[in-house]
């Protein structure tokens, strides 16, 4: 009697949603699967006054509060100095990098930085550097780069991740490598299947009358399409240089690509041809966020699926923290954060998924084959 409640059941997407009609085609036909698995939750707005007399645990004493994190101080040298913030030229945080070579080699999340020349690394000591791409591995979404002209860094040495158990503490870096964070191994180590890439548009299944093309009849909130400026009513005519006259063709062209990839889209708006570049996201992300509901309360990584093997943990991180190192409280660095998937889930690539290869690429880059002198 004493509470005013606003209840709502979260379903994504709502079964009554027009998108569920077979007549129109979202560029995400797995909608039905999600419809079946709508998820129950209750959101409540309290009218109670903020200052309840009941004891509330002060923020600093909580699991990720400063006092609890202070107990990790002996482990900080493993993670914090070995992290770097990847930011835009204007200083906006993009993601985090793990330093893997004293001479500037770093690993970070590939799909967050499709064009390394447009970002820079800000190191723990405050120095900044531009990045040179060494090797990009789309399969595991990791890019090896070198911070140009930087030496004297502290590098991570990755340890085997085998033997991690459910409930084992892990620590990592938050705030783009600047603060420690604590959590646990929260679910089974496993493969995360890919659901492909998506633009986040709903398309008319009838051929456009205006021109040969596919009319957009809906744009998902915070989707790649929205970010690129596409609007309802626009008619797609060319995607990645290929003519599109059927929604199926758009599917084919988009779905075979990886989240994070940038494609060029030609479209008609008010009979005028326009062009934009769209950075694709995981279909999973687009679907989860179709209604603009932030299921992670802080955002989901652009690419959050299609990994051969991941560790799952509950460290409270943001998409900009991906690329940072993950260590056990025994001081073993066991992986690198690769995707923020939802409010309770972060995926990390275990050492075994990348470390041997990475070391080979660093070696090869440090010692390129000598040019044969011309006699």
């Amino acid at each position: 009697m004493t509470k005013e409640k606003i209840r709502m059941t979260k379903d994504f997407p709502k079964p009554t949603d027009k998108r569920m009609r077979p007549a129109c085609h979202a560029d995400a036909h797995r909608l039905v699967r999600f419809g079946q698995f709508s998820v129950l939750f209750l959101l409540v707005t309290f009218s109670a006054s903020a200052d309840s007399p009941r004891a509330t645990l002060p923020p600093e004493q909580r699991t990720n509060g400063s006092q609890t994190l202070a107990s990790l101080s002996s482990l900080e040298p493993l993670t914090l100095p070995c992290s770097a913030r990847i930011e835009s030229i204007l200083g906006r945080a993009i993601c985090t990098a793990t330093i893997v070579g004293t001479d500037g080699y770093i690993l970070t999340k590939a799909s967050e930085v499709p064009e390394l020349e447009k970002v820079r690394a800000r190191l723990a000591d405050g120095r900044t550097a531009s990045l040179r791409e060494v090797h990009r591995d789309v399969k595991i979404d990791l890019v090896l780069a070198q911070a140009v002209g930087i030496t004297g860094l502290k590098a991570v040495s990755f340890d085997p991740s085998k033997g991690l158990t459910l409930g084992q503490w892990l620590c990592s870096t938050g705030d783009t490598g600047r603060e420690p964070r604590l959590g646990i191994v929260s679910a089974r180590r496993r493969k995360i299947p890919g659901a492909g890439a998506a633009l986040g548009i709903r398309m008319d299944d009838k051929a456009s009358k205006v021109a040969r093309g596919v009319r957009i009849i809906g744009i998902a909130s915070e989707s790649p399409a929205e970010a690129a400026g596409l609007r309802e009513g626009d008619v797609l005519i060319k995607i990645a240089g290929k003519v599109v006259d059927q929604f199926r063709r758009v599917h084919e062209l988009v779905n075979t690509r990886q989240p994070g990839e940038v494609i060029e889209v030609h479209y008609l708006r008010k009979n005028k041809e326009e062009t934009c570049r769209v950075r694709l996201a995981s279909r999973t992300k687009v679907l989860q966020n179709w209604e603009g509901e932030d299921f992670a309360n802080g955002g989901i990584s652009l690419r959050s699926d299609n990994f051969p093997e991941v560790l799952q943990h509950d460290i409270p991180l943001y998409p900009t923290d991906m690329g940072g190192p993950v260590a056990t409280l025994e001081g073993r660095v066991v992986g690198i954060n690769i995707a923020r998937a939802d409010r309770v889930t972060t995926f990390a690539l275990p050492t075994e998924a990348f470390w041997t290869e990475t070391q080979k690429h660093i070696q090869a880059d440090r010692h390129p084959p000598k040019a044969v002198p011309v006699e």
């Binding site: 998820v39 409540v44 109670a48 004891a55 645990l57 909580r62 309770v344």
Partner: protein, 331 residues
Amino acid sequence: MPLLCPPFLSRAATILVAMQAIAAAAPSSSGEAGSKTDLAALLRVQADVQKLLPRVRPALVAIHAGGGTASGVIISPDGLLLTAAHVPGAPGKEMRVIFEDGSVTTAKSLGLDKTTDAALAQLKKRTKPWPYVSLSREIIKAQPGEWCFALGHPGGFDKARGPVLRVGKIIKQTANSLHTDCVLMGGDSGGPLFNFSGEVIGIHSQIWEGRDQNVHVSMAPFLRSWDEMQKSRVIKVWGIGAGGYLGVATVMNDALELEVVDVLESSPAKKAGVQAGDVILSVNGEAMTDQQQFSATVRARAAGDVLKIGLRNGSKDRELSVKLAQKPLEE
């Protein structure tokens, strides 16, 4: 049945009184549980959780009900199941229940408490006992700063992933709920929160946007309304069987005062002359500052007790004597 517990109905008032006492003493006592953790202490937490997991995990289930997915926990060998009231939504609902290994059975919802989000369900009978966990009867022990852990199926059942564990601390205890920093999301609803004895202390219910804002139904409404819920009743009025009943609805008004917005017909409050628009100042001389404190204060008294309630209407203060009654079953 080990959990039929009439004694608890009579003990409920005691529990609430004790809770208030603790709340008042909390600033001095909370330092103990929440004081500096060191690495060794964290590793002990890890060891405890990992020791309890194999025992408690089999009692966790995923629930499919009404087109949504949620979680639940079995608390008796004959298959009584705790979940959140918004999962079945009503008594008598058939639900699909899935175990970690993917095996499936059904359950039927019994009663539920819509005011606190507590619900009871019964698994299909079978000869073999169901895996189960105990629930904590020491509600007041779940204090801010205590470590706890949550299990559930966030986002729905996923066999490859299995159940998802979260370890965290209790942030707050209210009359009917616990707040923790075990981060929850959709699909966790109805899943269990455990203490470090492996007993259920909460059922996942609500979230706010902040990652430290995760709300679980405490065991209080379950223990208080156990008989009613087993009889498949729907509780729409806060806390049947939990002490004295006054019959007013309150809000915190813009001036952050506790204001009466409704006085129920033929309730003790109505008989005593409480009116909508009255601001509640005190009960038996104790100043009232919020709704939970007020509810707890009233509920801590038995039916038949007389309370002196200080009220203000406009600029006029007055005091009324109200004889508390038994709460009607439904209204």
